[in-house]
């Protein structure tokens, strides 16, 4: 092994340790008694492991309900994104219609708008619809988006034209070609968008914070924030970290399962210009 490789691995290992420490610290704290938690200098290994922090967290806040809300919202948002984005992406890639490029450019331009700019009018719209504190507000505005359209359009541009021609000669209309022929070939692109949407939705905070009032409608991030807020000055770090572990695991599992697709999605986002 050359000197530069040893140097490279040293850098990588030091970096990896600093990436992992906060996660391990969250896990360790979630299993510690208050006595261990407030020791200084800090004790690193839970001894004995205090599993009650997990049941304490469940008893203090409706964690299962938060989890369920997050799961419903992320799943439905993802499903909606897959449908709307693949439909529009297919139209932009394969069909000819007036103002196609202008319209596509307008969609792309909406990606420049920071979501925070829109939250006030969107909140007002949700109130007018009577959707505040409901799944409608949590899910419906998230079902659409230019990023997915862009991603699927890129994919469908590479869809073989002969296949399309053959289907047309067989009398298929564009919808049938989209649904029966193009969509099944798009599974990798759909996986990319799906994982991306799921994780984004699972982690989103500002929007669910604004449109939910009751405890029963909170998603995990909002529920966690409120759980911390409820302690004021003397935070119960053990149960709070236990709740943190529960909220982090699903997104990590989805990422680990579909890592390849997720990173591809990020790269596609990076080339949007």
């Amino acid at each position: 092994m050359g000197r530069s490789r040893i140097l490279a691995y040293t850098v990588l290992i030091l970096g990896a340790i600093s990436m992992l420490v906060p996660f391990l610290w969250m896990l360790a704290t979630s299993l510690m008694s208050s006595k261990q938690i407030y020791a200084f200098p800090p004790e690193l290994i839970p001894n004995p492991a205090k599993w009650e922090n997990y049941s304490d967290a469940m008893n203090s806040v409706p964690l299962v309900r938060f989890f369920w809300n997050s799961l419903i919202v992320a799943t439905l948002t993802t499903a909606g994104q897959l449908v709307t984005a693949s439909m529009a992406g297919y139209a932009f890639a394969r069909l000819k219609f007036p103002f196609r490029n202008t319209l596509f450019f307008l969609f792309l331009a909406t990606m420049m708008i920071p979501p925070q700019v829109n939250i006030v009018p969107l909140f007002i719209l949700m109130s007018k619809m009577g959707w505040i504190d409901s799944y409608y507000a949590l899910i419906i505005p998230g079902l659409f988006g230019a990023f997915g359209i862009f991603l699927l359009r890129q994919f469908f541009m590479g869809f073989p034209g002969e296949l399309e021609q053959a289907a047309r000669l067989d009398g298929c209309n564009p919808w049938q070609i989209y649904w029966h022929i193009a969509l099944p070939t798009a599974l990798p692109a759909l996986a990319t968008l799906g994982i991306f949407s799921f994780i984004t939705s699972w982690n989103s905070f500002l929007w669910p914070l604004i449109v939910t009032n009751s405890e029963a409608m909170r998603t995990l991030p909002v529920g966690l924030a409120a759980f911390k807020g409820a302690f004021r000055e003397n935070t119960q770090w053990g149960p709070l970290m236990a709740a943190g572990v529960i909220s982090v695991v699903p997104a990590l599992l989805v990422f680990l399962a579909g890592q390849k697709y997720f990173i591809k999605g990020l790269m596609a986002g990076s080339l949007k210009g």
């Binding site: 984005a85 529009a88 009018p121 982690n203 943190g244 990076s270």
Partner: protein
Amino acid sequence: MKDKNEWKWAFILLLPSLLGVGIFTAIPVIASFGLSFAHWNMLSPPKFVGLQNYLELMQDPLFWKVMGNTLYYAVAVVLLEVPLALLLAIAMNQPGWLTKVFRTIYFLPVVTSMVAIALVWNWMYDPQSGLINGLLYSLGLPKVNWLFSTLWAMPALIVMGVWKNLGYSMVIFLAGLQTIPEELYEASELDGANKWQQFLNVTVPQMGPTLFFVSVMSTITAFQVFDPVYIMTQGAPEGTTNVAVYWLYQNAFELFQVGKASAIAYCLFAVILVLTLMQWSFQKRWVDQES
């Protein structure tokens, strides 16, 4: 066999996205602009006040303080994140299964919710028994009040922000590095260049567009920071960590000053728009140069 009705099918396929993006993005962005010229508390009818919200912002020392804080956060995050991410990407730019493991590890913070991350860092920054003061103690250094200190609260948020997004920037850099032709390195090696000279004369110029892209994207992301401020400091101590989106949130949803909040939103939008357009025009120039 050309279908003359093709545009009708296109319309059907586009309809959900047209309606969705129209109603939930395009109309709100216009409405937000309109509201920035009004006084409104969400109860009584809105009143048109012209440029007054903007003029008041310009004269409000808090506005400049918040914008200054946001700029401080963004610039510091980018200055730390870009070189670190580039260093890691260079270290990782070699074959082998081990680099894949590293990539996964560096990516964990990117896919984790900012709220969960802010909670654990909040605890690590604890002045009495937090991990970071424990580390300082073991090095023989004094404890720091981190999130309760007007000097250290913002750097604490900055370090956490860098930690969270490092993996993202690194992956983009890694992709950029892999497009650099191997011959360029071989040629410079024949010219007797050492590793450092190769880095300065081959890697950096070849990575120009990617470096620029990552810097702009990180700046844009940093300008939108909200979650950690809400969770960890709520703008305290003494407003030193109050940033644009948090202030916008306070004005809209705690003080119900919709017009003022919208004006703040548009100031933020203006900054981000300039950055994005810069990125687009530079990228276009680079692409044109290459072709």
